[in-house]
């Protein structure tokens, strides 16, 4: 479901999953074209897949949304850590 990331001086980041195969997906986030359109996704349709680095249960991990197929997921975007709301 996730792989543990080693702490380092780089800032690991993720991005949209644009490739179909696992091999392509592994390299896709870095070369993925920036998304320019300002459109919402649509209810009743599949959400776009992505992977992202994160922090969970004391470890740095990489998560992919599609690993959660079969479960209900609440995905909450928010402006920033250490803010007030």
């Amino acid at each position: 479901m996730s792989e543990e990331l080693e702490p380092g001086c780089t800032r690991p980041t993720g991005g949209p999953i644009v490739a179909e195969t696992a091999d392509e997906a592994a390299t896709a986030p870095a070369d993925a074209a920036p998304v320019k359109e300002r459109t919402m996704i649509h209810v009743g349709e599949k959400v776009p897949d992505f992977r992202a680095a994160g922090y969970h249960e004391g470890a740095f991990v990489e998560k992919q949304l599609s690993d959660y197929l079969g479960k209900w997921v609440l995905l909450c975007f928010y402006p920033g850590d250490f803010t007030y709301v």
Partner: protein, 134 residues
């Protein structure tokens, strides 16, 4: 899971030094990083002018389908109870394979509606406006 433009390092510091003071054991779900806002842009919640994500909340079912979302500008926080109520409603509808629907004001324990030919024009027998409120 939560996601913002902050790095996983900032997530760690926020969780370990502040959020653990609010929640025993800290945040139980993954705190993800969307540095650059590409994922937020993909979902339509990245605020390019401010360089941060708007407060977007997506309910995603076990098939990966978005059943609902809510997007707020940064100063106003969400209502967790309403989010949970919506998840419970979507779970009920899914478990019924679409034979039941949840009318306005529904919460667990309240009556559902059974969509069908016989319900057309007869919703008033099953539901009244007082049921829209708690």
């Amino acid at each position: 899971m939560s996601i913002s433009i902050d790095s996983m390092f900032v997530h760690k510091m926020w969780n370990d030094h502040e959020l653990t003071k609010m929640v025993d054991g800290g945040v139980p779900f993954p705190m993800l990083s969307d540095a650059g806002g590409q994922i937020g842009a993909l979902y339509g919640v990245f605020n390019e002018a401010a360089g941060v994500e708007n407060r977007g909340r997506f309910i995603i079912d076990p098939d990966g389908v978005c059943q609902g979302y809510e997007v707020l500008t940064p100063p106003v926080g969400r209502n967790v109870n309403e989010t949970i109520r919506q998840v419970q409603a979507f779970q009920l509808v899914r478990a019924s394979k679409g034979t039941e629907a949840t009318p306005a004001g529904w919460r667990p324990g309240k009556n559902t509606l059974k969509p069908g030919v016989n319900l057309v024009g007869n919703v008033w027998k099953e539901w009244d406006t007082s049921m829209a409120n708690d």
